[in-house]
């Protein structure tokens, strides 16, 4: 089956060494639709002779009905990989391309210019050292140019090349080039790019791509490829503070316990003292284990397993660091968020936050402002829509270790994940930890919930009713409270309508207000349960996310989600408050069941069928189930 290996080949060894020495530049291309990004990348691939004969043949065939350069090829066809992209002539998703010159290897992320796919641009930018910002010489700086440049700065891309494309279509006019340059510089100066290169090109005709073009004698700078071959983008991560996010505790048998992961930054050597970022527990590195044997030291980018000299509590998600170089450790921080989902972001809603290998539930506690990406102007907001950028405070359920993104992107960049669909909803960069959080600790008192509940001869708990308006929640809760009171127990009903007359009278019925409505009620329910009461919460609470949040706020308090499952038609026929009628008439907006959704609970503790039985029967069913 296999052939013996070849004997070592000296020439090849030499050539291989040269390949390994070649540095790698990761860059992305961005700009507006039709600026010619794909054409430029196609041109780079073609000119570096990476377009192969069989691909060329199929390209010539596909190019017949398109605008082509001297070679008769539409270069954009090289990179637009999806059928829909070729049909519509636009780039939908980020595509990665590879080429090499004698001096350097390149990975190009071709990112979409179309506004609705801006999230993919952020994706490309998160792993790029440099960005080409394309501008159509005929159109100048556009909204998308500004938006993309702002996202580049948000994601910490330090090097930008302004590529003024289609310069052939403005007659190779220097004045056009100069005025675009001036406009862009004025916009980009607050964005903090370390270098800003500029080059006038025609991607279609090849001007100033590989070498200086005779058509632009007024341009004295480097052509694009030579510029990319020589620019220094090195950011030595080995010089940075030591960060080792633990991915996995490797424990094959009783004799071995190691912590596996990739060194995010800095270096580590055998004998070094390290700290667990969360507990500040110290230990010394005993071994650095690799597939090929032990190492004496390891640096940023290497995947290794660290064995420590003593037993310390470390699990997946922990960060190992070094004394005097510890990251921030807090449950609150300020961050900038790029929202990537059709479903807007709301303060108070619970998401899953992932940073490094840590994964924790988190909520946006404060939406400070939205940044208008065209003007950089800051405006107030109650939600964050798709492709918007906002500055927020985020609170995590438990403290996490992190750095400011500007200091370390690998420990300061995070994503937010939907807790139901598991979709990636947004990406954020941490500005700084909010130290307040560390100073604010819970006061613990000697008289606690257990003592208070015992005085009342009961166990404190929360019964959370959910269901459509008119489903029978309040009737059942009312009957249950009566029965509990008759038995000498202490219960209290938190009713949606009543609470909205007082505590929550400042809230309307938008999705954002509904999220906050539930959060407040869950906190009140928790306080009441803490006082030893049996709390009956009767709220429509239409969103699964918020019910989950309520359960989390309850913490270790016994929490039962009771779904009063009554069909919409039945509720609407009952219409005790005449609300359905008014909603149908368009007098009430955002009415659950009519023009606002009700997400039925997927795993309630108990389902009561409101259409099948009288409320009294259901209240008794619930009473029995509660086993008080």
């Amino acid at each position: 089956m296999t052939l013996p290996m070849t004997t070592p080949d000296t020439d090849l060894d030499l050539w291989l060494a040269q390949q390994t020495d070649k540095s790698l530049l990761r860059f992305l291309t961005c700009g507006s639709v039709d600026d010619g990004k794909s054409t430029l990348i196609g041109r780079l691939l073609y000119d570096s002779q990476l377009v192969l004969d069989d691909q060329l043949a199929s390209l010539r065939q596909e190019s017949r009905n398109r605008t082509t350069g001297d070679e008769g090829i539409d270069f954009s066809l090289l990179v637009d990989g999806l059928s829909a992209e070729r049909e519509q002539g636009i780039t939908i998703d980020v595509a990665y391309r590879f080429f090499a010159t004698d001096k350097r290897k390149f990975i190009v992320a071709d990112t979409p210019g179309h506004e609705q796919y801006t999230r993919n641009m952020a994706t490309g930018a998160s792993n790029a050292d440099l960005a080409l910002v394309l501008i159509d010489a005929r159109k100048g700086v556009l909204t998308q140019t500004r938006r993309h440049s702002f996202i580049l700065s948000l994601l910490g891309v330090k090097h930008v090349v302004l590529v003024v494309n289609k310069i052939d279509l403005v007659g190779y006019d220097q004045a056009v080039f100069d005025s675009i340059l001036a406009e862009y510089r004025a916009f980009a100066s607050p964005l903090g790019f370390q270098t800003l290169g500029t080059v006038p090109v025609s991607a279609l005709r090849g001007d100033n791509i590989l070498a200086a073009s005779a058509n632009t004698p007024w341009y004295t700078g480097a052509a694009l490829v030579p510029y990319l071959e020589t620019i220094d983008v090195s950011q030595d991560r080995t010089e940075a503070k030591f960060r080792f996010p633990v991915q996995w505790v490797n424990r094959p048998n009783l004799d071995f316990r190691g912590f596996s992961g990739t060194v995010a930054s800095g270096t580590v050597a055998v004998g070094d003292e390290v700290l667990v970022a969360a507990s500040r527990k110290p230990a010394a590195v005993k071994r650095i284990v690799c597939m090929d044997g032990d190492l004496q030291w390891a640096s940023a980018g290497q995947a290794v397993t660290l064995v420590l000299d003593r037993e310390v509590d470390v699990s997946r998600g922990d960060v190992l660091t070094r004394p005097g170089e510890t990251p921030e450790y807090s449950n609150q921080f300020q961050a900038r968020l790029v929202w990537m989902s059709e479903e807007p972001a709301f303060p108070g809603r619970s998401y899953l936050l992932k940073v490094g290998s840590q994964q924790v539930p988190a909520t946006i506690t404060d939406l400070k402002f939205r940044t208008n990406v065209n003007t950089l102007e800051q405006t107030a907001a109650t939600k964050i829509d798709l492709n918007e950028v906002a500055t927020v405070s985020i609170a995590t359920d438990k403290p996490i270790a992190f750095d400011a993104y500007a200091e370390n992107p690998l420990t300061g960049g995070f994503i937010l994940v939907d807790r139901l669909t598991n979709a990636t909803l947004g990406a954020g960069t941490i500005d700084f930890g909010l130290r307040r959080a560390q100073n604010l600790t819970y006061q613990s008192f000697d008289v606690n919930r257990g003592v208070r509940a015992q005085m009342k001869g009961q166990t404190a708990r929360i019964v959370w009713f959910t269901g459509l308006s008119g489903s029978g929640k309040s009737s059942i809760a009312n009957l249950l409270e009566k029965r509990l009171t008759a038995e000498g127990r202490h219960a209290y009903i938190l009713d949606g309508d009543n609470v909205r007359h007082g505590l929550n009278r400042d809230l309307g019925f938008t999705e954002a207000a509904r999220v906050e409505n539930i959060r407040r009620v869950a906190e009140v329910a928790k306080l009441m349960a803490d006082a030893g009461l049996i709390v009956l919460v009767s709220f429509i609470s239409p969103f699964e996310n918020e019910r989950r949040l309520a359960r989390e706020i309850a913490g270790d308090i016994d929490f039962a989600e009771v779904y009063v499952d009554t069909p919409l038609a039945v509720c609407e026929a009952r219409d005790p408050k005449g609300l359905y009628k008014r909603a149908r008439a368009g007098e009430i907006k955002n009415f659950t069941g009519i023009d606002s959704p009700f997400e039925a609970p997927s795993t309630p503790e108990l389902v009561l069928h409101g259409a099948d039985e009288e409320p009294a029967v259901l209240a008794d069913q619930l009473h029995d189930w509660l086993k008080l």
């Binding site: 089956m1 296999t2 052939l3 290996m5 070849t6 080949d9 020439d11 090849l12 291989l16 390949q19 192969l52 004969d53 069989d54 691909q55 199929s58 596909e62 090289l78 990179v79 637009d80 990989g81 999806l82 059928s83 829909a84 070729r86 939908i92 998703d93 980020v94 595509a95 990665y96 391309r97 590879f98 990975i107 999230r119 993919n120 952020a122 994706t123 998160s126 792993n127 990739t262 990537m340 899953l352 992932k354 940073v355 490094g356 992107p409 690998l410 960049g413 995070f414 994503i415 994940v417 669909t421 598991n422 979709a423 990636t424 990406a427």
Partner: protein, 189 residues
């Protein structure tokens, strides 16, 4: 056929993830792949609705029935693979090295006559040629290339001078433009 077998095997094992060696430089729709690529409960890829993938933060969460295809060497090139094989001294199946083999030329592709399962079309006969396989896929749908490269250094040198793409020999790709994308949507790697 490979797609069906793969889907059946994944269903049988209820696997959360299948790790593959696909690379972004191979083919246009693969250039759009994530490193952690989400598949729905019928193993389908939805290229227009992929999860954004930032930094090294991978969203690996799945709902019941869903799965991941994971491509750790997504950013390697074909040349990277061969230089790595050379550096690490990895053994390879002999089909990757040039040898005299019986082949039939069909629509510009050299199909190897492996055993008596091969069905000759009218007028076809096998002839001996120095060939090797640049990629190994379904038999008999993967074509060989004419080559004298019988050792790893020779292969690497040949590749440097190569003017065709790696997947040129795979009939599966050339059904029509966009066929790989379609196959991936159905559950192909």
């Amino acid at each position: 056929m490979k797609t069906q077998a793969l889907r059946q095997a994944l269903d049988a094992g209820h696997y959360d993830a299948a790790i593959g060696g696909a690379r972004r430089d191979e083919e246009k729709s693969r250039a759009k792949e994530r490193i952690f690529s989400h598949r729905n409960s019928s193993h389908a890829w939805d290229p227009k609705n992929q999860r954004p993938e930032l930094w090294r933060v991978f969203n690996t969460r799945l709902n019941p029935g869903e799965s991941m295809r994971v491509f750790p060497i997504s950013n390697w090139t074909e040349l990277d693979v061969w230089t790595y094989i050379y550096r690490e001294g990895i053994e390879l199946p002999s089909l990757y090295f040039a040898a005299k083999r019986p082949v039939v030329e069909r629509s510009g592709t050299l199909i190897m006559v492996d055993d008596d399962r091969f069905r000759f079309q009218p007028g076809e006969t096998a002839r001996e040629e120095m060939v090797r396989f640049r990629t190994l896929g379904d038999y008999p749908l993967t074509g060989a290339i004419r080559s004298d490269a019988a050792t790893l250094p020779e292969i690497i040198m040949e590749m440097q001078a190569s003017r065709t793409s790696e997947r040129e020999g795979r009939l599966i790709d050339s059904d029509s433009i966009g066929s790989m994308e379609k196959k991936k949507q159905e559950g192909y790697f």
